[in-house]
Symmetry: D2
Subunit: 218 residues, 4 copies
């Protein structure tokens, strides 16, 4: 299933797509933004919404500062809170030639809370009726440090140094693949297929799933 | 509201009531119990279901070994997982003369999992349609050590040494006071009434609520 | 190395040995105990220190109530707090015919704090100059539920239902095998020998080590 | 003691001082840096070591992306791991007119691990013989979200949106005030002076200490 052309972006690129601009944001922080903020350009010749960085600048900043991420392990749970299956996304890479299996991940935007970042990224990948049950506290089950240099940690992202706060989020609703996501797949961590499932994740995302499971005691 | 007659039981007494026996248990562990188990008596002359200890023995064991408890802070949450209110029970004490404000607490029974103990105690106090969202992992936000000697820790229970694993459990459904519970009350932790609410809890339960809130970042 | 005669006690039996009585306890809780307490017998014809249950009664209570345990993963750490090796005990079983590899585990005694239980069990197994660095908080990295019935959870103890609060404890000093412990062995979790090390643990203790490592991010 | 001139920088400004350049870094990540890296200028006319951003750029990036921080509550502990006192720094603000009481905080630098950031910031503020005992895992006791807009969260930093991973770090050695730090003060959280101590912290740092204490169960 996997086609690897040597270019494998690990975490979501959070540059706004053209359609993102009007995407009905619920983020209250942007309420006090003036129209001028929305239309100013940041020297790239391209209009960028406030809180977003244009592609050129993001690329540069990624080589200068760690980038804060949230990473979500979507799960289905039974009435006792036990994890019955773990979700992942099948998606086409930016280059278009690779199909990759990933978790839900994305940058925390400027002036966005971690909870909003989790909710926004879940909705972006699973759709608006996924009904995620967000955690009551912000303590992550692990913190994954992605480095551009392989081998410094179990996690690697060639584009950047990312500090990912990792959360387990039960999904109570229905999932609809969005944008570049081809499919959302669920696997029972006690099934024979689970090892293959993990083997299809790269750059340490499989280890995030293992840590999530260890944390649940499963 | 508070009537203190000097006798204030802190944690639920888990001796079975007459009505408990047939109370439609969902606990699968009891499936392999034989009818003989259900009718045997343990020397007290009283028939006790398996996994329950009769009152005399429980009283004695409580002076000899720490007793494992679960303690639940029931909360209402918004779509972002943020706690909007905290629940408590108003109940008549065993003696009948005291009205006390408590959290949901109870022993973990023999061969019962912690998840089952949480679900059973929530159902016992809030009813069957409370729809508790149990945690995915078993790591408590704190461990409260109740000692029969006051002052050893912030927690006191004159009957026993109890080790209580404390969890925050969002309640999605409707609550109906059960048994000796007179009412279930909810309070917004950001409201002016919150300090009074905490002041009505005793023996350290208010501190458990404070720790729960600190853990949520509220 | 392993000799399995079919009888494999999982957790330490916490009945006091003859020598335990005068073992220079530091536990302040026992300060208020009268001499009478120390000499009374509990019907077994054997003198039992206060806070200890005699063997017969302990055996019976273990079939009626969950027993609270602490379980310690001893580790060596570098200056950055990273785990460099994990310790285990090689010990002769009660029966004398089995050599088993275990973590440090023991009951929480009546009126003993969890911290005291951790310190006492570390000292009991590693000696008085092990210099354990106890955790600042009591939140365990996992809670392991041992059931007498195999398969209910990843953990099994044929003698009892034990609820074990699991902690990682860095050891800064020197370790000397105590009592029935033959040796204390350390292994680097990144070494080739680690899988064999885990394979020599039974009844779920290997999984506790795995969860500890996942929690450290190693 | 407190002189407030209305300008109160909350978190350490991580622009390198002139003396920082040769400050005997232990960070292995910088080993592969070429001499060219060390001498290149980033358009500000000022030579900046690799991994550091010059002041102008840092100021701009702080308005565009959340900045990852570590925040350390330094504590003294007893043999049982219990917190006996909490440390804070008295320091002169950048403007020079304000004396502020703060925790240890600083940016995570590009390609620096969280552990290195903790160790570097502790050494920077407490000196090289403080002997901090870094945590075995990277799970923070809380995540504090500092926003430039007051009121969005309990935390405020007018310069930036900072996501601070908060850790409790026992200090085993001696502390020597460094650089702009005038003094390191310790207070027993059970003492009468503790409330005043907390009252001297601003922008939510007092709440971080309260959360740390709640997490320890104190």
């Amino acid at each position: 299933m996997r086609i690897d052309n040597g270019y494998m972006p690990v975490l979501n690129d959070e540059v706004p797509d053209d359609g993102d601009y009007d995407a009905g944001r619920r983020r209250g922080e942007f309420d006090h933004i003036t129209p001028e903020d929305f239309t100013r350009s940041r020297g790239s010749g391209r209009v960028t919404p406030p809180g977003w960085i244009d592609e050129n600048e993001l690329r540069r900043v990624r080589r200068e500062m760690p980038v804060a991420y949230v990473e979500v392990v979507p799960v289905r749970v039974d009435d006792f809170g036990r994890v019955t299956s773990i979700g992942s996304l099948l998606r086409v890479s930016d280059g278009g030639a690779v199909i990759e299996r990933t978790l839900i991940a994305g940058r925390v935007l400027y002036h966005e809370t971690i909870r909003e970042a989790i909710a926004r990224n879940v909705a972006k990948d699973l759709g608006d009726i996924a009904l995620p049950m967000l955690p009551q506290g912000l303590t992550p089950f692990t913190v994954a440090e992605f480095f551009p240099t392989p081998g410094v940690s179990p996690y690697h992202d060639e584009r950047q140094h990312a500090i990912a706060l990792c959360y387990i989020v039960p999904i109570a609703g229905d999932c609809k693949p969005q944008d570049e996501t081809l499919d959302v797949e669920w696997v029972d961590p006690r099934s024979a297929a689970f090892d293959e499932f993990l083997g299809q994740m790269s750059d340490g995302h499989d280890y995030i799933v293992r840590q999530a499971l260890a944390w649940t005691g499963l």
